[in-house]
Symmetry: C2
Subunit: 239 residues, 2 copies
DNA sequence: CGGTTAGTTGAGCTGGATCAAGCGTAGTGG
DNA sequence: CCACTACGCTTGATCCAGCTCAACTAACCG
């Protein structure tokens, strides 16, 4: 059930068998949620965190005028709102982009973890810090990269993250976002996302068709994105 | 020495006398750094974290073409790179904006904290999660707010954060950033920052002069920024 | 008082926005 | 089985917020 999450953790540090057992015990219950459902609304007080077992989710913030910024994308294996454990309520909402299966982790059990499993606690803390690193990389995209770089960068990031949990295949990976949702990630309009995707397709860097990303020229894609994956912290070091 | 940091913590949760003592013991040494000095470079392996005792710092990411995005601003009392404790190296650089006094916190002592002080550990974890919340708010600014809103938003955020540690006075606060640095925070050009500041001044919302922000119409400033301070998590709740 | 850095302003340009229309395809219900 | 609808994608025409380039001013400092 938490196999994919374990793959993520073990790409960063070693996890003992005892710690693995403890992690399995964190999930009190699983649930299925429908595509496009907002499962957590900003400001709501929470007693549990959510681990994404299957499907895609996003976190987003709204502006009073109806505009929306997606601040993070999540795929299977991600501990979507582990940070709600320390914060108790969130500054953003969480939505399912596709039908999802989620695991509920009561904060009570995380308190126990922090009292009995310091190494595991540091590891979980680290995963929230890696999420923050992704936020910073997105700040860089939103602030300084042109449209084509922003989109290319997201596609490069997802390729690595999905490969880590075994969700890539051959020359690409499933990609369920609509162009509207992609525009909400990148701070662009849907129209401009459409034109930029055409540009990427005509250059033969990538194409998105039938809900799949097909990468046709990875070096060129990474170059135009100025992609440097070190912010994903995929070398084993801590402990 | 860590008085300002304690103010920040106690705005979010209670800190016992014993925990306060432990925190004081974290700092192994203090140092002075010059304005404009980059004290930590991206990718460098670190053995300590940095608490900012006096002055202003920022964290930034560079693009190969020389562009730069400042991803966070820090003022006295901020635990600037506590996250380097779990990450061991950073995806960004850290620079002093003014002359600063910093406290060095060896990671070794933070490991001890995680083993003996679970509540304090959760509290420190929370502060890194609050930093991430600020990143998300900046993503929203960069992705969706127009120039005037981005600048107004930063000025509103700093007003709250500086007030918390006693660094505001009367109708404003010290503000040492150049227009170039402000442009690197907001994803704009220095020229456009200049014009936007003139706009804010002519509307009589705020003005920046002689290294000070003077707020002349706070409600209007907050309105144009769509400012909602809940992302700063200033209500006491956790424990 | 000369050099350097920060701030200011004008003129013209452009990447991405806006507005508007049309198209393809997957339901859905009669 | 087909009309109808809804949603996502695509394209064209036009606009504008913010960028670029360039020059000038102000403040500080040694």
């Amino acid at each position: 059930m938490i196999e994919k999450h374990l793959l993520k953790l073990r790409a960063r540090d070693t996890v003992s068998a005892e710690e693995e057992d403890f992690l399995r015990g964190l999930i009190s219950e699983t649930r299925d949620v429908a595509a496009k459902a907002t499962i957590i609304r900003a400001e709501q007080v929470l007693g549990h965190s959510t681990m994404l077992l299957e499907g895609w989710m996003c976190r987003y913030k709204d502006l009073p005028n109806g505009q929306r910024q997606i601040t993070a994308l999540h795929v299977a294996g991600d501990f979507v709102d582990l940070h709600s454990f320390t914060l108790k309520r969130l500054d953003h909402s969480i939505m399912a982009l596709t039908p999802c299966r989620i695991g509920m982790v009561p904060h009570r059990r995380l308190v126990e973890m922090s009292e009995s499993h310091p190494h595991l606690t540091r590891l979980c803390w680290m995963t929230t810090n890696i999420d923050a690193a992704a936020h910073r990389e997105w700040e860089l995209s939103l602030g300084r990269r042109p449209a084509i770089g922003r989109i290319a960068h997201i596609l490069c990031e997802l390729r690595i993250r999905l490969a880590l949990v075994g969700l890539t295949d051959g020359d690409g990976y499933p990609f369920p976002l609509t162009q509207l949702e992609l525009s909400e990630c990148t701070g662009l309009t849907p129209v401009h996302v459409n034109r930029t995707l055409r540009d990427l397709r005509e250059r033969e860097f990538v194409e998105i068709r039938h809900g799949r990303v097909r990468i046709r020229n990875l070096p060129a894609l990474e170059a135009i994105a100025d992609f440097n994956p070190t912010y994903l912290y995929l070398n084993k070091e801590p402990r």
